[in-house]
Subunit: 339 residues, 2 copies
């Protein structure tokens, strides 16, 4: 069994990159990028200004690439995957804009958050605009099935965000509760992004299911690694400040594990820090020490590998080729970031 | 010509009410209300709590009634108008939740605004949830045409809100600019609500266009009257505080007219008040005096009548009957509120 998962842990994983996926989707992504610019346009000047602030700040655009690669892998030759990929990216951008208001963030992708430049108002409203545009593009594809998948994702994402809000600053959150949150707020859009590719290509049900499962589990791995990196890495490589989650009192898996495995004294520290006391630089340094002592970062990364393996197995029955290889390499890249 | 419009100005108008519309749509509205409660439900406790705070606070639900009445008038006998009417009401509720964050409102429909009870975060996210649910219900109808109309409305509403934000506190706003704002932020949803009724009923294109025009112009009249009432009426009957717009520095038509028609000294007062100086009770009293002196409220009401007449003419070619009568009486009721 070990031999099967070695690529997600060994030296090959360390060299894994998103490069092959980028290469395969390059031509279509150029069309997505043009469509993004055109659909973020409005005669109301503030809208393209705010939208482009975020759009130009260089997110990886992993989600639309998933849609494109999945559609290509299913032999799709039409135009609608470009519309759906753009819609997915707009849904993601809208979520980021609303998230910044909810989290009261100062930075996003290494730039001042839109709400710091234009105020909460513009972030809320431009997010709403992008969401409206996303649905219009879905309607343009004429696929009620894709519309169903993406509108359900929109609902689930909002539920996940509210769930996260309700368990904010609560260190008694269990790993299961944490998983329910990231399954909704992150994995749902990855799953939908991967699923609408085969849907638009008219693929058979088991294929659609395979991509959905791949996307959902990649999303979980991605979020787990992101949460681990918030206590490591540098501000620059993350495009956000290390320790943002800590300062905002976010209960992520590293904290859940360190809290449960710690002493009473440790737990008192976490409760204080999560409720805004001792959550400055000294607090962060102490938090990192506790996380290391209890192997909380390493085990968060291990959980990420668990989901990456499930994602890979989801694709196993599908015919091999460069697309399948590229999608598997994305899993390897994702978990290798945490090492 | 005068004889034709007399009902919108004379004694009959004074007795006009929404009662006939309520009666015709009562059975369907009961189904809408049940669907609202069910679709506002979520295992995430905070969601139904916040949603019901607003839903139970007794808005008139005029928009979903328009959808139902329009579908009935076109002979529709299916179930999908109930889904669309509920989707329309959810879009409206989501807008209100986001609006409160944008406006930093304290009251909504006479109750503390959701953001005052649960914070901006919950208002943003529960709004997003309701919008997602609205799109799911539209998808359930299988009508791509209705989806197109309502997703376009979602985009236009957000554009209108941003436009309003951009011209906030700016007394140089022209009447045309003001109209462009309310056309987008209010009339677009009224138009869509009325239009999807005949669409779901499979009505002919001229009929669909007639309802769209009726809805759009009713929406304009409705908003104009609302803006006039913000400087008259009582807090209780409005469900918001008289003078809210004034205190928030909102440039509505009464202000646009009084500013343009005023002296230099008047204009200095308005500029000060809109930028937050002298906008307390004394300022409001002075504002009302200036509005009265320049006939700004009466003329705002007159503009509302102008659009109400257009709305009535839009329906003129359609076959008469109780539904048509009820929809025309709504116009009369709407403009009579301003007197």
């Amino acid at each position: 069994m070990n031999g099967v998962v070695i690529a997600l842990e060994g030296s090959r994983a360390a060299k894994a990159s998103v490069e092959p996926l980028l290469r395969l989707t390059r031509a279509d992504m150029e069309r997505v990028n043009r469509l993004i610019l055109s659909k973020a346009g409005s005669e109301v000047e503030l809208i393209p200004e705010v939208a482009r602030h975020l759009i130009d700040s260089g997110g990886k655009r992993l989600r639309p690439m998933l849609t494109l690669a999945a559609a290509q892998m299913c032999g799709y030759e039409g135009e609608h995957h470009v519309l759906l990929a753009t819609a997915v990216e707009f849904m993601h951008t809208a979520t980021l804009l609303h998230d910044d208001v909810v989290d009261e963030s100062d930075l996003r992708r290494g730039k001042p958050a839109a709400r710091k430049v234009w105020g909460n108002q513009a972030s809320v409203l431009v997010g709403d605009f992008l969401l409206g545009q996303a649905f219009r593009m879905m309607v343009d594809t004429g696929s009620l099935q894709a519309l169903g998948v993406l509108s359900t994702a929109a609902t689930v994402i909002a539920e996940g965000e509210v769930l996260q809000l309700a368990s904010a600053r609560n260190p008694d959150t269990t790993e299961d509760e944490y998983l329910a949150i990231i399954r909704a707020k992150t994995a749902a859009l990855f799953a939908a992004a991967a699923e609408v590719g085969p849907i638009v290509a008219g693929a058979a049900k088991p294929t659609v299911g395979a991509f959905r499962s791949y996307g959902a589990n990649l999303g979980l791995a991605f979020q787990l690694v992101d949460d681990a990196l918030d206590y490591g890495g540098s501000s620059q490589s993350l495009g956000k400040n290390v320790g943002d989650d800590f300062r905002e009192g976010k209960v992520t898996l590293p904290v859940v594990l360190a809290y449960r495995r710690g002493t009473d004294e440790d737990r008192k520290f976490w409760r204080d820090a999560l409720s805004g006391r001792n959550n400055g630089d000294d607090g962060l340094a102490h938090a990192k020490k506790l996380l290391a002592r209890h192997g909380a970062i390493a085990d968060t990364a291990q959980r990420a590998r668990h989901y990456a393996v499930i994602a890979r197995d989801a694709l196993a029955p599908l015919k091999g080729g460069p697309h399948k290889d590229a999608l598997i390499e994305v899993l390897e890249f994702c978990v290798s970031r945490a090492n």
